[in-house]
Symmetry: C2
Subunit: 188 residues, 2 copies
């Protein structure tokens, strides 16, 4: 059962037939979607750079500065944010090769705290989950996900829970993860 934002539910899953997209990561698909939104002048949403702790930089003559020692840092916020129809929009995106669930461990507590914070200030906050085996991408509102994350003893979001509580995101060649259509139906 897939729940659409207009309240309709259907029993069949919608398969994405665009074979050229196979092998693209969720990040690549989101970057392409966001570029297209920007080009259409629909929204300004960017992925934040990967946070890196820079320890040592070489400054060779006549060439660009070269970072020779650095480490990945734990992100303190979500990966994506921006502005859509005057509203601040903020989300985290994750993909899994599991057929059954997303472990809570794949989401940093910092990111949950950050989404709690922005919701308090009137943001639209959500998670995007891709089940790569099904080629399905779902949007789950942060307001639904956070209570489960904080209280659920199972410590994972099941595929069934995400299907029931989330919304299947449509896909097209130009906009592989067209999440703003879901946002439109839920908020505007």
């Amino acid at each position: 059962m897939i729940k659409y934002p207009n309240g309709k539910t259907v029993n069949k899953t919608v398969k994405i037939n665009d074979t050229s997209r196979r092998g693209m990561t969720l990040e690549q698909d989101l970057n392409q979607s966001n570029s297209y939104y920007l080009e259409l002048n629909k929204a300004v949403i960017h992925k934040k750079p990967t946070p890196v702790q820079i320890v040592h930089v070489d400054y060779p003559k006549r060439t660009a500065a070269k970072i020779t020692e650095a480490y990945f840092k734990t992100p303190s916020t979500t990966d994506y944010n921006g502005v859509y129809k005057g509203k601040y929009l903020d989300f985290e995106a994750k993909e899994t090769s599991s057929k059954t669930s997303f472990p809570f461990a794949s989401i940093h507590p910092h990111q949950v705290k950050h989404l709690q914070d922005v919701l308090q200030h009137g943001a639209i906050g959500f998670f995007i989950f891709r089940f790569s085996v099904y080629d399905e991408v779902y949007l789950v509102e942060a307001s639904k996900l956070i209570p489960s994350y904080l209280n659920d003893k199972r410590r994972s979001f099941t595929y069934k829970w995400i299907q029931e509580e989330g919304y299947l995101i449509p896909s097209s060649y130009a906009i592989p993860v067209d999440y703003l259509t879901i946002i439109d139906k839920l908020y505007f």
Copy 2:
């Protein structure tokens, strides 16, 4: 002449007497201000990580992944964004040791384009400039700065222009660059 957002102008400059802050960079002061805003539950505003192109990573056994070759990338957006009173807020911050002006070259064309984009979608967008020799920090609205950046033959923002078109940002021990007081007066 310093113009305050309430329309008053005064002839004297406001000196910051908190000597413990000397030597702090604008970035450090903004990070501290943003942390305090977050702690007060007033706003959620973060600096984006420095964008880095990662070329090579070592994965040693039993220790953290080490980036051994990476380069700085030109930022495609501004450094700071977040949410305040339901609005998307976006800004770039620069400091100079010059007594007279900021060269246009210190601002990337991408950043100006980004601020133009977000303004179209209802964002609050601005620049923060520190003149370190005067220990003065100004907020200039993007809507004022962009036309000058695009058309002005001088190719720099003079201290005089920033004083006239911008707003002097107050400073306190806890909030070294208290720019939201200016935003409150201008937008709320």
